[in-house]
Amino acid sequence: FLGAGGGNDIQWCFSQVKGAVDDDVAEADIISTVEFNHSGELLATGDKGGRVVIFQQEQENKTQSHSRGEYNVYSTFQSHEPEFDYLKSLEIEEKINKIRWLPQKNAAQFLLSTNDKTIKLWKISERDKRPEGYNLKEEDGRYRDPTTVTTLRVPVFRPMDLMVEASPRRIFANAHTYHINSISINSDYETYLSADDLRINLWHLEITDRSFNIVDIKPANMEELTEVITAAEFHPNSCSTFVYSSSKGTIRLCDMRASALCDRHSKLFEEPEDPSNRSFFSEIISSISDVKFSHSGRYMMTRDYLSVKIWDLNMENRPVETYQVHEYLRSKLCSLYENDCIFDKFECCWNGSDRQVHIVMTGSYNNFFRMFDRNTKRDITLEASRENNKPRTVLKPRKVCASGKRKKDEISVDSLDFNKKILHTAWHPKENIIAVATTNNLYIFQDKMN
């Protein structure tokens, strides 16, 4: 696997960790999504309490050329509040399921954040000047007695301490009966899609009272329901193309030019089942938890419970590459079904848009995360833990011992902590900086700069 010393191999070092140190995790602090913006300068996290925290990278310090800028808190705001659905007598969770950034068009930054039912467009803007020298008001806001005004002056802008304000600009509500699992901004930067368990809607960013339903897999008779939508994404370059994955391990590619309701897919990606691995859990572990296009748009990556698969868009009948994330769990599926871990939805991500390097990353249990290098076919397992928090010290690769004699420094499968799961990871769009979310902490790692 990737280790220290390889010429082109990345050596990952701990950089920062954000979040509470306590082992006692507050429910609201559980991180539910992580996303870099298009420049990588901003890093957003959403949590179960409905809050969004945005970190900003410091400008590079010329004197400290051996490390990149640190990420510090830039803005924190409450994106979603808990709601109550009177009709169903059920709570609507405020947990942020996804955050997606819009490309920057002016001084302000925009992002979409969504919970189970409502998507919101947030504007994050800076204020570092304020007007001073009003004629009718004092500096503290009190009105001056007009009779005391003897001269007139023009108010001027004076610098002030930086204030970052977040304000909701659009609220896209009431379009989803089921729980939203994905949002994806189109390459036209004007529209976006939102997907729930059974339907996908197309929105215009300016219009909140209307959305178009483009996929509907709800059966007429709900008793016949056997498959749900698990993730969806727009193609990075083709603004009429999107994909959605299902709980049965299929991916459908749809073209919106074909018809208004894209119920007929243009392509269906599905790998035939391996009969030797068949069990009662086969379908559950084939359920796709995440789908991501490559930067070029030629490939897409899917994550199911045990593996990461790379698909060539031109080949529907099988993936071009399959990487086993934690195959040692295959013999433990019954226990993982019993404690519900088998339903954990792991995400996956591509490295930044470096044309030479092709690495994919995904999380696992015991706060382990995995990287697979598509070029060298090597892989590595690393751990996000406060014990390794010495900056510029290369992280030690980890290994899980599936069976037999456990070597020194290896961890046996039975010792893995299944409560410590890494579901969300993100890779800086341009540099080798990664953000890895454990239950309530955010770790930032970067490659060792020489």
Partner: protein
């Protein structure tokens, strides 16, 4: 949760048995393991969160697993054995209650369109057809099993009577659409006059909780159903709970 290091008595480690579905019937432990997986799955389906809508993907995957087991057991011939067991009225009532307990994503409305209540029974359809201004009268005299409704939140026992397995599976699926008349009546037994007075009163406090399907409900006329009024008092606890949530937000 998963206790570190604790060995579980389950399929784990016995890949051979998991590997082939058709063979190995001669080994009694396979049937036992399959049965325990079936029981586990049914428990998972029935233990639904009270306040938050259960995860539809998870429910569908578990239901598919149950179906798989059921199909295999049917092929086996073990299924017939189970179905010949007697079914009692009492267990049927329990089915209904777990049906209500498990209401996951009931399809209340199709976005902006006419609410789906109309599909539940012919009575509703005719009512809707008559009312051009979209006012809807509530359910005809409700024979709601109120004691069942109040007991629902305590009801957590897994399905014991296998004889009703097929029925329970159907009931569970029906909750996803909520087509059974019983649960529809229960739905409307909650919806009474006092409920909507409270709603109107508190509209000012709730900025974000306006639901799309409320478009039609806002024009609800006062229900002429006197039976539901007698159930008001039992709803007060629900109302208190709602008010509590609203006030806190």
């Amino acid at each position: 949760m998963f206790v570190r290091g604790l060995k579980r008595k389950c399929f784990d480690g016995e890949e051979d048995i998991e590997g082939t579905l058709a063979g190995f019937k001669a080994i009694p432990s396979y049937n036992l393991q399959r049965q325990s997986l079936l029981d586990m799955s049914l428990v998972k389906l029935q233990l639904c969160h009270m306040l938050v809508e259960p995860n539809l993907c998870r429910s569908v995957l578990i239901a598919n697993t149950v179906r798989q087991i059921q199909e295999e057991m049917t092929q086996d011939g073990t299924w017939q054995m189970i179905n010949t067991q007697s079914t009692g009225q009492a267990s049927l009532d329990r089915l209904v209650s777990t049906d209500i307990l498990c209401r996951s994503s009931r399809d209340q409305a199709e976005g902006k369109h006419v609410p789906a209540y109309g599909t539940f029974s012919k009575d509703f359809e005719s009512d809707q057809a008559q009312d051009s201004s979209e006012t809807m009268s509530t359910a005809p005299s409700v024979q709601a099993p109120r004691n069942l409704q109040s007991n629902v939140w305590e009801m957590e026992n897994p399905q014991e009577n296998k004889g009703n397995f097929q029925k329970s599976l159907d009931q569970i699926f029906e909750t996803l659409e909520n087509k059974s008349p019983n649960s529809v009546e229960d739905l409307f037994s909650e919806v009474d006059n006092s409920y909507y007075d409270l709603d109107t009163m508190l509209t000012g406090m709730i900025s974000n909780t306006k639901m799309g399907h409320c478009d039609s409900l806002e024009t609800f006329s006062s229900p002429t159903n006197t039976a539901s009024n007698s159930n008001c008092k039992s709803d007060l606890n629900d109302l208190d709970h709602i008010v509590e949530i609203l006030v806190e937000s």
